[in-house]
């Protein structure tokens, strides 16, 4: 049985000279604290500090990166604890074995890279997983998880996390964040992020209820457009008061043409009554998207956008298992023309930050870098979902560095729901960045001292500055 090990030079460039330089650059960031400006870890995890229970419900069930690949290989989602938790340990062990027995199927994927890192570094698993040793590794991991040093707050220290942003509903009372703030034994920093998508989508059947809900949360009458705007502003302020520095947006497109006040006022009322046309509702969403930029200019929240996702592609899976179950899929997306109305108004506003993420890798060289190379507000977001892998990151840097260098980029975001995968995701990014910088050194474009400085601020100064952390 071959041993499971982490190559100390993993993911660094292959030729010896470049690898030596990359290794030196990487040494300077390897142990740097983690800044995580965007992700989906629940703040309650840290507020409550409840121990994790078992490998399956920790590493498989909640991680759609893992479950989707197993599903593609024929494993039914319900046997993996998707939708509802697995009922007993037998089922959990079966799920764990399903993963372990497919280790070779995962060869080459970043999912295996992440899991391997966690198995070795956190759990001391010594053998390459397979069906035969699945129970052993299950037991070993479960035993570790029982220790106090594996509770979420202890792992925070171990991971060296400096600041972590969560993603939250505008009506969330942010209790967990408040609990952490008020806890004298807790010294970490966990900030919320304002994620208003569904409140900006009049086309949703539940939109009238959501409008009322945010009205209640903000204590404002949202039956009129003006009230709705005040409610959104109020809730943003509430988030700011709880430490938020950013908002997060994902719609079908980036069109951003504002409406006149009269039209917005009218459509708001019509949409609440179910009398707006489909075109009006789309136009209103685009208006509200531009309004978010206007509010960011006023209140300083950084605006993150990551468009181009087709949500819940496979209806039967959605109906049975709900959302975020592995079949949100990318499509082509334009940036330059749709964002023109927004950027014309706010693109040079002092202090406005607009971070553009994409699931369409062709946008980096063609649209995002050109935008970030002119507008002081625009930052090129690093690879996200489907692109957050070694090859994806290299495509990103290859597409943008020549045009805009490093200072117009966001710094790494891990975007993860899987708390334990945070260190490995940052590890992958730092290694790839070391390689990118080393190649520039070998190409005679920067020297190794400058490369090392850049690597350092890419993991600290830069994300703090871009996300105002």
């Amino acid at each position: 049985m071959p041993p499971l090990r982490l190559d100390p030079d993993r993911l660094l460039p292959s030729d010896t000279a470049t690898r030596d330089i990359a290794r030196a650059i990487h040494a300077a960031t390897e142990a740097a604290p983690i800044v995580s400006p965007h992700g989906h870890v629940d703040a309650r995890l840290l507020a409550e500090d409840v121990p994790f229970t078992d490998p399956t419900s920790l590493l498989i069930s909640p991680d759609h990166y893992v479950t989707r690949l197993l599903h593609a290989d024929g494993v039914p989602l319900d046997t993996l604890g998707v939708g509802e938790p697995l009922g007993d340990e037998t089922a959990r062990r079966r799920a764990w074995r399903a993963l372990c027995s497919r280790w070779e199927m995962l060869a080459g994927t970043v999912v295996r890279t992440w899991l391997e890192h966690q198995l070795v570094e956190l759990f001391g698993v010594e053998d390459v997983p397979n069906a035969g040793n699945a129970d052993d590794s299950y037991d070993r991991i479960a035993a570790r998880l029982a220790g106090d040093d594996f509770r979420p707050r202890a792992l925070w220290e171990r991971f060296g996390i400096d600041v972590l942003a969560t993603t939250d509903d505008p009506c969330d009372d942010l209790t967990a964040h408040a609990v952490l703030d008020a806890d004298p034994t807790w010294t970490g920093r966990v900030v919320p992020t304002f994620r208003p998508d569904r409140y900006l989508e009049p086309v949703r059947a539940d939109w009238p209820g959501l409008v009322q809900r945010i009205g209640t949360a903000a204590d404002v009458d949202t039956s009129t457009y003006d009230g709705f705007v005040v409610a959104l502003e109020t809730r943003r302020r509430f988030f700011i008061d709880h430490g938020a520095t950013a908002t997060d947006h994902s719609h079908a497109d980036l069109e951003s043409e504002p409406l006149s006040h009269a039209d917005a006022f009218r459509i708001h009322a019509d949409a609440l009554r179910g009398e707006a046309t489909a075109a009006e509702m789309v136009a209103y969403r685009r208006h509200l998207f531009a309004e978010m930029a206007r509010m960011s200019c006023d209140d300083g929240l950084v605006m993150m956008v990551h468009p181009g996702i087709v949500r819940n592609h496979h209806r039967p899976t959605f109906e049975r298992f709900g959302q975020d179950t592995g079949h949100d899929l990318p499509r082509r997306i334009d940036f330059v023309e749709p964002l023109r109305p927004l950027l014309e108004r706010y693109g040079t506003h002092p202090g406005f930050h607009l971070v553009l993420f994409t699931v369409d890798p062709t946008a980096w060289a063609r649209e995002i870098a050109p935008l970030a190379g002119f507008y002081p507000s625009v930052y090129a977001g690093v690879p996200w979902w489907f692109g957050d892998s070694p090859a994806g990151m290299e495509r990103f840097w290859d597409g943008i560095v020549d045009q805009i260098g490093f200072t117009r980029t966001s710094g790494f975001i891990d975007d993860t729901r899987a708390y334990l995968s945070i260190p490995t995701r940052h590890d992958v990014a730092r290694r790839i960045e070391a390689g990118v910088l080393a190649r520039l050194v070998v190409a005679g474009r920067i020297d190794v001292e400058e490369a090392t400085r850049i690597a350092g601020w890419l993991v600290g100064v830069q994300p703090r500055a871009v996300f105002k952390l």
Copy 2:
């Protein structure tokens, strides 16, 4: 005159350490049998086993990869035997000289890589081709072709072909396949593929005739929609009875919204009478495309699709020389949204296999890998037409491996009309795959034993499993 030679390390990665590993991986697949699940060789070639006659009508005239490049360099297609065969040996020698004298023009192209391999390995040509030595190489090749060891069946043995799929009209009587099956002296496996495109395109002027034709072939009245469906099912069954395992589809887009039975019934009848609107005919084609998936769920035929081709771009050339004469050209194509109706219905059907090819390389990372990483039915088809080259293959693997590894890919298909180019095309693919795997080894992501295993099943187990061979 420089010698023509094949570098034993050709197409392997450049840096020494990675190349050494790639060479070792490649050694394990270099001599493996050839599985060819998709191509355009005519089964009669093997059924009749007629000797090839001369270099030009073997290597130039039928290969639009070659003729299009010569045409771009100013050589008229009629002097190359496109459209109709060249009348005499003088003309054939002139065409051969046209190719040889443009050897340097072909520098860097995969066409030269393929030709070089054939000239050296099959024909023992010793000098780099040029105008001066064209007659010599013509003579040498013609002499070899006269030998019994160069007849199609002998080459099959020499090439180590294990199974070859042809591409056939649904009304084809598959006589050639039957002849091979019935021949006790023939031990190879040649299977037909059901290619119904034109029967599914009501917009074609000849569609009513085609509908009648398939009715005759299936002995079914196809004047109604229901009869037409039965005819298609009947012919698929006929193909299955002759060894077919797959169907092959190429339309302008991948839209797949089914119609109600009533609408399909009505449009079928209207279209036969020439009374359907253009929009109805397109909607009906999309319905029939979804029907093909439905039938695949029923009868098990693997469904291959390769959309996004603009056919017969240069009308004057089409009018003079016919189709497949080098001016079918790619365009942008979407996968995720158009395939949603089809995948919603059949995407998780047990045993359904949908292999997605593309001529738009941007689709691999953005759409095809994400689809294949969720749907058990979807496989990422390897680079095809315009992408079936070293750089094209590296783009493919670079775009998909991090997301889905190797098991969600189709295995290599050569897609060739040029029988003699089969070995070199597989040789190129195996070398690139060895390099891709070697880079993963050097990056510490897999070890060399696993890489070698993967290389092995990529050329055997995988295409057999995906195409049910």
Copy 3:
């Protein structure tokens, strides 16, 4: 303070074996004369041979590649001399300091690569720029600029320019070109290029005036379509008489469907009276675009196109500073289908040359190479704007070589407004080309002699042939 130096191996491949070969290939082109078939240097610069004044108005103010990046980093355009020249030396020194103090911000960009080359090779600047040494480098450069050996004609000799194409309005009297032609002390070759874009855009408010203007220039009544065509032909002839070999086109798309003569005639008249519809005006522009191809078949002018630019994206900047101020931005663009009508008519016309540039890198592999691999008229234009960098050039070659080799490409164009950046831009291209060729050698696809030959004609024979220079 680290010294500023140029690595003699800069931009060559990283692994030792490939780099050694690339170095040998590059040695053969390093000192070759410069052929510059497309750019934006003003012919008056050479006709008048006026000395340059200071670093800022030479290297910053007119170069939107530089000013846009400084703007993105928060430097107001008016402090950089954009729009109107900086009033005094204090302001110019401040602008120069703004650049020098952002040297690290430019790390990794091709802008820094270009500037570095100029600072070292032309001005002997010895230290890496920063705020502290900005005045020193300003003084050093200003002193050099005062010398006769830094006047434009002297630099022409020093740069080794063989031929330079300018870009000119169809009504330009080409006096500067005539002055150069008539000057017995001037032995260089500066040819004009016919750039008719705005005359072909009836949608512009100033179009009726432009039509009248070209009528005056051509001494033809352009109130009718027929007269307008004659005027365009007359001005093309005037350009040819002054040495022009090419025309240059950039519209929103490449649609090229011709109108009937009757429709063109009618829309021309209606558009002049402001009575044409928006759709008619677009259709007429597309017709005129096809007409340009028709005229090229008649008069032999090479047709260059570079579509897909969204002009003046940020209206407030445009209103204050005018055009070409750094916010023209790329978007997606199709080639295969829009060009079909044009290529159907003229694509195989003997002597017609159509050079296709793109700001959408996805078009190279998908559409431009496939077109250039069939149509004798079509050449793949090298990376242009936003792509004219090391990574951009590698994407280009990676996207096209396997399909069409080298002979179907345009040869390098620098496309620059910055006269002093011509040598460094060609230097970058030659180094990348040497690397591309070296990789083919290491991959066993060409040998080093052939690679060296190809490198040679890529910088001389090829652009001369494609642009008929």
